[in-house]
Amino acid sequence: MGGKRFRTGSVSVLFAVIMLCVAVLAALTVSTATADRRTARRYGEYVQRLTECQNEGQRWLAEADAYLRGAGELPAGTQQNGSEISTEITDGNMTLTIRLAAEGEAYEITAWSLESQWQPEEERWSLWHK
């Protein structure tokens, strides 16, 4: 009569479990890798904004030095309070504050401060929605 029938049910279940576990691992791997890439790009954008702010500060410094030496006008957006001249350069959420103490034609940088304001992201979904 018929021989012993080989059962494929248990093998199918085993294969299904293995596939499920490996698929979950693959999904996690892709998710982690894309998050890494996204974080790297954000860091690059942050450095771009930071450097551009500093570059604006350097250009302002060149104009301020020319002004102190009598070779140019007071740069736009600059406040002068006696022997101190200062400015604030804003780029997005970053603000660079520069203060110079003028001594004749020479100057001393008394403040070169870069601050960034934290702006919370728009709340898309909150677990504890009030």
């Binding site: 596939m19 698929a23 892709v30 020319a66």
Partner: protein, 133 residues
């Protein structure tokens, strides 16, 4: 008389589901292997980008301090300066200068990436050099 033919047909009907199962398993493994390989490529891309940003930022500070030299700078996997043969990352520095009434404004365009590939990150840095007089 047709006993061997019936046996072969019986074996085939017995093995077919198992063969289909194994084939499906192999296909799934192939698809998931492609996913893993793609993830590794994305991770490598992020690593190169991070290293390029770090190198550009570091060289920008050196440029502002007046300590930047050379046009082509090469770095190993640990972001340490190295020879061209050992380099993993390459940084190019293109300098220009513009005279101002009181000094010079120097500008450098920094571009970095993996050695042998196109740069993936670029940074423009400016530094003011007052004249001595």
């Amino acid at each position: 008389m047709n006993h061997s033919g019936e046996t072969a047909a019986r074996r085939l009907s017995f093995m077919t589901p198992l063969l289909l199962l194994v084939l499906f398993f192999v296909l799934c493994c192939g698809v998931l292997s492609c996913v893993f390989i793609r993830s590794a490529a994305i991770s490598r891309e992020a690593e190169i980008y991070n290293a390029s940003v770090t190198l550009c930022r570091s060289e920008a500070e050196r440029f502002r301090a007046g300590a930047s030299e050379g046009e082509w700078l090469r770095f190993d996997a640990a972001l340490s300066p190295c020879t061209a043969e050992e380099s993993v990352y390459t940084l190019r520095v293109e300098r220009t200068a513009a005279e101002t009434p009181a000094g010079t404004v120097e500008t450098a365009v920094l571009s970095a990436g993996a050695t042998g590939a196109e740069p993936v990150y670029s940074l423009t840095v400016t530094a003011y050099r007052p004249s001595e007089d």
